[in-house]
Symmetry: C2
């Protein structure tokens, strides 16, 4: 793997596990095996690095969303596949990159905020579409607009991830996912 990609992979893990204010260039340098100063050749500032991270993370997400959207599965299975992404994040001891940065947003360079907003907007948009499709197919019963349910689902998944970090209770995370999806189904 190219050095630039090694740096990004290391930094991504560090942000997701420890937060923007919880890691340093020294951590990355140790991990990828070059000196701190050399990192500045690839990313002049920490903000540059994390901005790239948010863009890469959003692009990774986009690929997963397209993969799920294009699968020949019903809307509820697509929601499960989406939740499965979060499950994998939890299993790897990480928070969602977007969620982590969201909590720290008051301490971040404001230049990061537009990309961060776009990340959440894209998640909400995709979920809204899936929910709308499931609704017209009489698969889901919605008590509010598809967009409202989308924001609620996104909130619940981010929050379940956050809480599982404190409690260590992964089974509770899985139960919350199941409840969220079963609550949408006809005859719930």
């Amino acid at each position: 793997m190219e050095m630039r990609d090694q740096i990004l992979a290391s930094a991504q893990r560090l942000v997701q596990q420890r937060g923007f204010n919880g890691f340093s260039y020294a951590d990355i340098a140790d991990e990828v095996g070059i000196r701190k100063a050399s990192l500045h050749h690839y990313f002049p500032t920490k903000t540059d690095l994390v901005l790239t991270l948010v863009e890469v993370y959003t692009a990774q997400l986009e690929a997963e969303l397209l993969r799920i959207s294009n699968a020949p599965s019903p809307a509820n299975a697509k929601l499960r596949a989406y939740a499965e992404i979060y499950h994998g994040t939890l299993e790897s001891g990480r928070m969602c990159l977007g969620g982590m940065l969201a909590t720290e947003s008051l301490t971040l360079d404001p230049a990061l905020l537009p990309s961060l907003k776009r990340f959440f907007a894209r998640n909400t948009e995709w979920l809204t579409e899936i929910l709308a499709v499931g609704h017209v197919q009489h698969l889901f019963v919605l008590t509010g607009s598809a967009a409202d349910h989308a924001r609620m689902l996104l909130s619940a998944l981010q929050g379940a991830l956050l809480i599982a970090r404190a409690t260590g209770d992964h089974a509770a995370f899985d139960m919350t996912v199941s409840l969220l999806i079963s609550g949408l189904l006809r005859k719930g």
Copy 2:
């Protein structure tokens, strides 16, 4: 107000807005008007300070939970009152103290974790009781156990707070709260 309480109030705001790794003793010293070194007289280490903060925050919560429990209102109104606490937190530009520390938990002194877990356990326990009461009164329709719904509600509120920090969309937070409660009601 006593100096110790001023320090706690300042530190609480700083943790909720910026996180454990996002503030320093210098920030508190500036705010309460004494020197950095004097802060160590009250709280020898940063971990001591934040441990006290978690205990105080949990005690503040307990008082609010009892106030709501003792009110002569139906279970759905009690849920609304509980959600109102989060609304106030959002309006003051803060994250839940527990939620903020949860995301940072991998960087915290492990001595903080038991208190942090108790905070979440108490929230879940209280919500479970309210949901169970509303259920036997045929006010709520539950698609899982009361404890499952409690964890889901707590997750959704924490997550909605987190997302509102990134998007700045307070209306979305309110919609999520409404949807969470209306989704529980009979004939929802």
